[in-house]
Each structure stands twice: as structure tokens, then as C-alpha cells.
């Protein structure tokens, strides 16, 4: 059985003044029916660009997709669709929510009209039917007084409520895939948990697949089925959520895990990864993580690491990762 969404060799680059920024470089992954895939990495790793590329929301120019890149949804390559056919996918089959609910909503339109607009973009509902449906959706995402709040403007709501509106909008056409790009990063911790619960609840109810993007590996523990770790525009490790958490093979993943506060050892110090993500115009040679890696060996700085399949059946792109059956 083929996956619902197959991303193959996705490369997205930007022409900038300081050269070509290869924000996403040869990324491949699958999203199966009903699964939640977590995409994790530090700021600047290319997560957002990956997400936007799936719906071809990158402006061309300055953006540009690689020649061999394929985004297959139900067997159709989205990168080759006409603008009109692509619109049939956007919002209807694959929907998206963003990091900043405040700026992602149009400040001069009521939240109701923005949801109605999403409904009517893909259906034949009348304005009244669409409005009724919008109220239902707002109820569904837990807006307290949907009948009244539907006429509110975004600035009249809190960040958490705004993100609920974004979710309602995304669900308005019952999409098969929801891409959530750091949907809780801009919110308070308590609100974060509520939004996560809501998302996972709705995922089950709507039978959606979710691509969940975050820079916080800890968030994924409770919600993801599989995890892909991204660094420097590439996926460096990918596998079952338990495998990633219990036997991380890539030093970068290990670093991310150390940065997660842990229930069992609350006093343990949080250790991040020294240094910062380089800019997309100047990726290091060889393994892009090598300048920050504590376990690097000589060849790391010159040769691109191969895919290593580890004991726990997941893939790591690292020269020092231990392949299955070798330990």
C-alpha cells in the first residue's frame, strides 16, 4: 500500500543576495493514512519551508523547487498540477495551520467570514449554510460563545482562541491531511497543552493524517507515531517515536533529547547543543552537523554520511551511528 503523501527528493532553494539558500535539500518522507508524523529540528533547519513546499506556497521567485522533487498526494505530483487543480487540493485535501495565529488571520475580516470563505472556496454552500457550518466548527474547536464570537475580529481574541479559529478554518472542508507548523510555539504553556489535546482529539474524529512540526522533541513523545529529525535542510534521522526516544542514533537527535526536560530526572541540567544552525547559504561540507558535533571523526567534514539502518529499524544519516547487527 502506498502512503497518502509521498515526498521525494524535495529540494527548495531561494535566490538571495548572498547566494543560493538551499533551505530544503533532498528531503524524502512518507505520511501514511491516519498517522501523525513529527518533524523536529532547531530554528532555521527548513521545517517551515518543507511544510510550505508541500502545498507549493513558496513564492517563485525567489523560491525554486529542484528538478527531481516530487510531492505525491494520492499518486498525483502536486508540483506538476495546474494552479486551478492545485487549489482543489489546498484547504480541501491538505490544510495547514501556522505558528503565529495573530498574523495568520486577516485583521480586517471577522473570523466568521474567514471561515465561511474557506468553506465556500470548495463547496456549493450558500452563505447562510456556510455560516451555520462555521458556528458548528467553532463549537467543535471549543470557542465558548460561537454564535457571538463569529462576528469578532481576530484582535478581539486571545492567542489560544485565534489558534482554535485557525484549526476550525483548516477543518472546514474535512481535509485528509493537516499540516501543523509549530501551532503551539507562540502560546502559553497551559494553552499549549489544550491546543495539543484538541488537535489529537480532532485528528481521531476526522480520521486525518497529521504532519506536526515543532522544535520541541518533548512535545512529540505524546502525540507522534513517527518522528523525522531535520538539520540543515536534510532529514538526519527518522523512525518510530519509541525508537527515536529510546535509542537515538544521530548525535543531533541525542542533543535535542538532552534539551528536553525530563519527568524522571527533574534536577538534571538541561544541556542544549553548543553553537547555532548555520545559514542556508553556507552549509558546512560533509555532514552539515559536523562543526557542532561532539562525536565527529575525520571523514564527517568531507563526506556526506550514508543512510544507516539501526537496530531499532530506523534510519540515521551519520558516520558514527551503529548499523543493525554490528554491536
Amino acid at each position: 500500500m502506498t502512503a497518502l503523501l509521498r515526498v521525494r527528493n524535495l529540494s527548495t532553494s531561494f535566490a538571495t543576495e548572498s547566494g543560493l539558500a538551499r533551505a530544503v535539500d533532498d528531503v524524502s518522507f512518507d505520511l501514511e493514512q491516519g498517522e501523525t508524523l513529527g518533524l523536529v529540528g532547531e530554528s532555521g533547519c527548513g521545517k517551515t519551508v518543507t511544510a510550505l513546499s508541500i502545498l507549493r506556497l513558496i513564492a517563485e521567485p525567489p523560491g525554486q523547487y529542484g528538478e527531481e522533487s516530487r510531492i505525491e498526494y494520492e499518486g498525483v505530483n502536486l508540483l506538476e498540477l495546474s494552479a486551478r487543480d492545485l487549489r482543489e487540493i489546498r484547504g480541501a485535501q491538505i490544510a495547514m495551520i501556522f505558528q503565529e495565529p495573530m498574523s495568520s488571520l486577516n485583521p480586517v475580516l471577522t473570523v466568521g467570514s474567514q471561515i465561511v470563505e474557506a468553506i465556500r472556496a470548495h463547496g456549493s454552500e450558500s452563505r447562510r449554510e456556510a455560516t451555520e457550518r462555521a458556528v458548528e466548527l467553532l463549537t467543535l474547536v471549543g470557542i465558548p460563545e460561537p454564535g457571538r464570537q463569529i462576528n469578532d475580529y481576530p484582535h478581539q481574541m486571545s492567542g489560544g482562541m485565534q489558534q482554535r479559529v485557525m484549526i476550525a478554518m483548516a477543518l472546514s472542508c474535512r481535509p485528509k491531511i493537516l499540516i501543523a507548523d509549530e501551532p503551539t510555539t507562540a502560546l502559553d504553556v497551559t494553552i499549549q497543552a489544550q491546543i495539543l489535546d484538541l488537535l489529537m482529539d480532532l485528528k481521531v474524529r476526522f480520521g486525518m493524517s497529521v504532519l506536526f512540526i515543532t522544535h520541541d522533541l518533548g512535545v512529540l513523545a505524546g502525540i507522534a507515531d513517527r518522528v523525522a529529525v531535520m538539520y540543515g535542510g536534510k532529514i538526519v534521522e527518522e523512525g518510530e517515536v519509541h525508537a527515536i526516544f529510546e535509542r537515538p542514533a544521530h548525535p543531533y537527535t541525542q542533543g535535542l533529547l538532552r534539551a528536553v526536560p525530563h519527568i524522571d530526572r527533574p534536577t538534571a541540567q538541561l544541556r542544549g547543543i553548543p553553537g547555532a544552525v548555520p545559514t542556508a547559504t553556507e552549509w558546512p561540507s560533509g555532514c552539515r552537523f559536523h562543526p557542532r558535533c561532539s562525536q565527529r571523526i575525520d571523514r564527517c567534514s568531507t563526506e556526506t554520511p550514508p543512510d544507516i539502518t539501526t537496530e531499532t529499524e530506523h534510519i540515521a544519516r551519520c558516520w558514527v551511528a551503529t548499523p543493525a547487527g554490528k554491536s
Binding site: 487549489r87 489546498r90 490544510a95 503565529e100 495568520s104 486577516n106 470563505e117 472556496a121 475580529y153
Partner: protein, 322 residues
């Protein structure tokens, strides 16, 4: 809202007060005074001039003159026209309707045309289409408006003969039936309004293009596209709607330039409005009329700005009282 309104009105009164002070100072530091101006071309005895000074209070201390000038303005008394021997307010009010007619038509044209062009450009930034229109608006923007008017007059008035080239009405105006009068007025309005309006539209288009481009860089445009909206809806419902708000402010800010342009266009097309009245008064050195018109122009600009600000606050949900 009320507090805003009160502050805004006080601010406007302060501006008008300063404008009045400036005109008063200008009149008094200039060589001569109303008396010498009044009798400039007529040799009269010094006694008559002195009498005139006494009659008009020109022999009083400067501060008293200043206070009475201000209080006269506050009561709508703009003084006497030396050359026409009529109250200045009469001269101004008589010229007002024609100027308002021309200015409103031109404002309509400049915003309608400017916003369409700016939106089309902003929606396709850096395309060939965009560059062509940028060149076109730069060209219109760079033409002296009176020269543009002369060229319009030459081409559409004289060579093609489509429109009348001077005056606001034809000589037979009063003999025409009602609809004929309306048509006659509109016919005369075309060239002056197009000249003034197209000149303004270049400015509006340049401004609005930038606003649209800025709106396009916002996150909510990405959301709109992610919803599957057509590009047309993205432009019209999202980008344009947001970019129209600053255009309201622009409307207020463009008034001084509009009035300056109107003076020139009225002159080119012999359109009897305030600009032409001011120009005629300059030729006769009847500066009471000129200062009154300048003051009046400034007041209209200030009122226009307040109205634009209020409109902005009503239209923008973020500033509207909730």
C-alpha cells in the same frame, strides 16, 4: 473616540491659528500696507491715505491689529477686497462651488485609477507589466501639471475637438434645459478633471503599489492561499482590503497637492474657481483675497485630514471602539 476627536480638533484649531499667524506676519513684514496697496495706482493726498488707515485700524499697535484679525477670522470676516470692492468672503464663496466640483471629480479619478493600477502592479511585483506601469506612472508624475493640461487641451480640445477647452460652462448655458445643463457642465469638466485626476493618480498608484506589496508579504495572505482561494480572491478580498486602509489616510494627505494642482489647472482651462480667483487677485495685488484663499485652502485641508482620520478609525476594526 470622543477624546480622540477632541484632541484632533484642538490640534486642527492650533494649525489654523498658526496658518493665520503666518499670513498676518507675511502681510506685515512685506513692504507697504493695505493703504498703500489700495492707492497704489492712484495718486492721492497723504491725508486720504491717513484717513484710510484710521478707518481700517491700520494705525493701531500691531498686537491689536493681530487680535482683531484673529477675531475677524473666527467670525468669518475675511476683510474687504481692494480691487473688487466686495467682502472677500463673497469672492471666495462664489468661487468655491466650481473648485469643489473640480476637486471632487479629480480626487475620484485619481483614487479610482491609482488604486486599480497600484493593485495590478502590487499583485505582480517585478513583472514586466509592473515595470511598464511604474515607468508610466513616473512619466505622468514628472510632467508639470499645467503643461500636461496644455497638451490635453491641444490634443483632445483643439486637434480632435472632443471637449471644450475653457470655462466651466458654455455661453449658452443659461438657455439650456436642465439635462442639457448637466451635460454641458460634465462636458466642460472632462479635460480639467482628467488633467488634475490623472496627475494625482500617478502618486496614488506609486503609494498604493507599495501598500499592496506590503500586504502581500503578510502571513494572512499565505493562509488565504492555503485555504485554496483563487488568486483573484486573495488579491481583492485580502490584499486590497488591507491596503485600502492606508489609502484613506493618503486621501487626507493628498489634499494640499490637489489644491495646488487645482490652481494651475483652473488657470489653464479658465475654470472660475478659487485658484483662478487667487491668481487674478495676485495680478491686481489684492492680497486680502489671496491670503483669505490660502487660509481657506488650509482650513479645507485640515478638515479633510480630520475626516480622513475619523473615517480610518471607523473602517479599521482594530481602532474601532469595540
Amino acid at each position: 473616540m470622543t477624546r480622540f476627536l477632541v484632541r484632533r480638533i484642538l490640534h486642527s484649531v492650533a494649525i489654523v491659528f498658526i496658518v493665520a499667524t503666518i499670513t498676518f506676519l507675511l502681510v506685515h513684514i512685506a513692504p507697504g500696507d493695505p493703504a498703500t496697496a489700495q492707492f497704489r495706482d492712484r495718486p492721492v493726498s497723504p491725508e486720504i491715505v491717513a484717513q484710510y488707515r484710521r478707518d481700517w485700524g491700520l494705525d493701531r499697535p500691531l498686537y491689536q491689529q493681530y487680535l482683531s484679525y484673529l477675531s475677524n477670522i473666527a467670525r468669518g470676516n475675511l476683510g474687504q477686497s481692494f480691487s473688487l470692492n466686495r467682502p472677500v468672503s463673497e469672492v471666495v464663496l462664489q468661487a468655491l462651488p466650481n473648485t469643489v466640483f473640480l476637486a471632487v471629480a479629480a480626487l475620484g479619478i485619481s483614487f479610482a485609477v491609482g488604486i486599480v493600477i497600484g493593485t495590478a502592479q502590487g499583485a505582480t511585483p517585478n513583472s514586466r507589466f509592473d515595470h511598464t506601469l511604474t515607468a508610466a506612472t513616473l512619466a505622468v508624475f514628472s510632467m508639470p501639471i499645467f503643461w500636461f493640461g496644455l497638451m490635453m487641451m491641444l490634443v483632445f480640445g483643439q486637434w480632435l475637438g472632443w471637449f471644450p477647452v475653457s470655462g466651466a460652462t458654455s455661453p449658452v448655458y443659461s438657455a439650456l434645459p436642465f439635462l442639457g445643463r448637466v451635460a454641458d457642465r460634465l462636458h466642460h469638466l472632462v479635460l480639467p478633471a482628467l488633467t488634475l485626476g490623472l496627475g494625482g493618480s500617478a502618486v496614488v498608484a506609486r503609494f498604493h503599489r507599495a501598500e499592496i506589496a506590503e500586504a502581500f508579504a503578510q502571513d494572512f495572505i499565505r493562509t488565504a492561499r492555503a485555504k485554496g482561494l483563487s488568486e483573484r480572491d486573495v488579491v481583492l478580498r485580502h490584499a486590497l482590503r488591507n491596503a485600502l486602509l492606508p489609502a484613506i489616510t493618503m486621501l487626507g494627505l493628498s489634499l494640499p497637492v490637489l489644491f495646488s494642482g487645482a490652481v494651475l489647472v483652473e488657470h489653464v482651462f479658465a475654470w472660475h474657481g478659487m485658484g483662478l480667483a487667487a491668481f487674478d487677485a495676485v495680478a491686481r495685488r489684492d492680497y486680502n483675497v489671496v491670503t483669505a484663499i490660502a487660509l481657506f485652502g488650509a482650513i479645507m485641508v485640515v478638515i479633510g485630514n480630520v475626516v480622513a482620520d475619523l473615517a480610518y478609525r471607523r473602517v479599521d476594526p482594530r481602532t474601532r471602539a469595540s
